[in-house]
Symmetry: C3
Amino acid sequence: QTNITVYGSMDLGIVHESGGPKAAGWTVQSGVEAGSRLGFKGTENLGGGLQALFVLESGIAGDTGGSRPGGLAFGRQSLVGLSGGFGTIKLGRQFNLLTYALMDVDPFGGGHEGAYSNIMFSDFRTSNGVYYTTPTMQGFKASLTYAPGETPGNSKAKRETGLALEYQRGPLFAVFAHRNLEDATGSSRNKVSFAGATYQVGAFKGALGYAVNKDPAMAMDSRDLIVGATCEHGPSTYLVSWIQHKDRSILDQDANQAAIGYTFALSKRTDLYSSYSRINNKNGAPFTVGNAIEVGSGKRGFAAGINHKF
Amino acid sequence: QTNITVYGSMDLGIVHESGGPKAAGWTVQSGVEAGSRLGFKGTENLGGGLQALFVLESGIAGDTGGSRPGGLAFGRQSLVGLSGGFGTIKLGRQFNLLTYALMDVDPFGGGHEGAYSNIMFSDFRTSNGVYYTTPTMQGFKASLTYAPGETPGNSKAKRETGLALEYQRGPLFAVFAHRNLEDATGSSRNKVSFAGATYQVGAFKGALGYAVNKDPAMAMDSRDLIVGATCEHGPSTYLVSWIQHKDRSILDQDANQAAIGYTFALSKRTDLYSSYSRINNKNGAPFTVGNAIEVGSGKRGFAAGINHKF
Amino acid sequence: QTNITVYGSMDLGIVHESGGPKAAGWTVQSGVEAGSRLGFKGTENLGGGLQALFVLESGIAGDTGGSRPGGLAFGRQSLVGLSGGFGTIKLGRQFNLLTYALMDVDPFGGGHEGAYSNIMFSDFRTSNGVYYTTPTMQGFKASLTYAPGETPGNSKAKRETGLALEYQRGPLFAVFAHRNLEDATGSSRNKVSFAGATYQVGAFKGALGYAVNKDPAMAMDSRDLIVGATCEHGPSTYLVSWIQHKDRSILDQDANQAAIGYTFALSKRTDLYSSYSRINNKNGAPFTVGNAIEVGSGKRGFAAGINHKF
């Protein structure tokens, strides 16, 4: 079986959610550090530098044996594509460009109790997408996505477009990403932009990012600032982040999240982790402390668990 | 892992459907040329020429990460069987004999925008089936299927039986297939018969087939004639077919489909494809141009995409 | 791909269910002897005797291509854990301790038409579980499970706890298992205990077990006695069991089941099987003859089929 690589990870932890009437207390959760998954992928050399590729990735609710997102067999990623000197073209379902950018800047990588998605952007993937990424040139790489809304008689409705620009050189990584999503009638557009960077100094890596989220139809207008750092020390990694959410709508529902985390690598494939996060909601802001998969149920969250890759 | 072969294909294309108020316009679709799938199969030699075998095949909606048919983990095929000098017996779910026959004769192999199923028979699989196939003798092979309706107190209701006879010698392939499906009360029977043949002359292969579809309870009585050809030229293959649907019911909803296609093999495992089909509906006939998986939404369909096998 | 073992089994049979107005008659069923499945598992040596492990196991409805239990991608088992000198800790979903104990004592191993679950305990698995098993010491092994009910504001509701004690020495295997399951409000508790043993004498193995099932809130109070034996003779194995269900509630719905079975090993991986079971229901007791997966539809059941492991 040389054509297919089977891979995945199982991440399960014990979580305590508190703060608020719906807080779940102690639970067992899947995908705290990173979503549990089972994947199948492969590439084929077609000659002349051209390569075919595919990815099929199931998201697993390891606590119950179900799927995440629910009801989808390969809900994390399902795509086929061609890569070569011109770059890479893919068709199917994958993470959108904003999600990649946010995960790359967030010290928690989009997971743990401190996940950026708790109070920033949480629309992870795009179905029916056409994705194009340029080759890397002088440290720069650009990506474009287009996903038709597939609404009969209205080619604008639900249409999604996106672009990202990445730069990596030495200790510096910088990224800008933008997404437009038309609403169900094609008469209004949700626009989200994010710019962020990380900088490595020895074992220490600092992170800084800023997002703008506007949606006239939903009277939504907010700004997010994320600041954080990671520090590696042998098998240990220390994680910290602070996110400020400014609501410019008339509801004025500001919020902020402070989070700390710790991971201990038992091997390259397996680690133990723990994290704690606290959200401050103003004027009835609805944010809850979740993690890579769960949206959470309260203003405070603690988790400890194991993530095993295979 | 010597017992299991993991295999599959990812086929995604860009499709334009037009002609009619519900036509979807531009969409990204999965399984245009052939249904995207992930399979697990294997055989075990039991000695004395006896062999155990199994197939588990998931159908994948590569555009959204879902399953096709929806809701089934292994909806394409799931079966176990024994083969030997007596032939092959299988139990489970698989394509019915009519579907195999139609896919073998259709120049489009049941896929692309010209799929026979757009205006002919589109009931692909049988659950709860017992399948028997004889060994090949003098080029002949016969198959029988029986699937109980599993209706308490009514052993006839929903029962399905089928038979097929195939002949392959030199450039000639010929097939006859028949299926009986009892309705939910066991008081009426849908009978479908199909006879077809293909003949190879050099790079050129001609195809001809004729189907009869009768269902007294649904006042359905129709005839389908399919004529087509394929021509291979290096990595290129040209496809063409014409299907005439004659409705003998009082509705008199005749229709016909004309389709052309082109595939370009990047390798044995990967090809690019394009196809166009147009359906002519008379007296409000409801047919739409779909493909291997999608049923379509309009009277005209164009597709271009990639199919990568692994 | 050295990290992952892909494995499974496909078991399909022809079943006749009779006795009672809802009896299904002849059907094709999946998982008669043992549930059809596809699994992915692996271990990683972490040094110092420590090992990481995972299991992902899909249950397959081989007759229809669906999942069993329905709607769950990995409904049989999904877990990650660590094992070492201290024993084994697992997190996720797996069979509960009562189910393991009953399957180990039941001559039919929890499958065939004589499955213990037809009239004894049939709640197979636990989600959101934390499982701990001691190392084996002097033939003894103990296990504990804890699964939070995950009900906001009520930490007791739906909580499940369990324990098991196993002893294996020479021809003797003995097991005791207990489970507590709190109801949806945390005000009442279903308690089930089972003690059983098997003893091997040459090709013959006898089995004896006794269960107590109490649930004050549901006015449930019953006792089950299971007696049975298996006998191996070359590739043949003969199976027999008798189960007496005593209902101590005011409904007095006693029942008993008598079952015989036969399996013929075509190889280590593949066998043919047949079994017959008959249930006697008193005072409207609702039990039906099912098997490893199906719950059945009548008071009598006959099955013949094939189970192929891979």
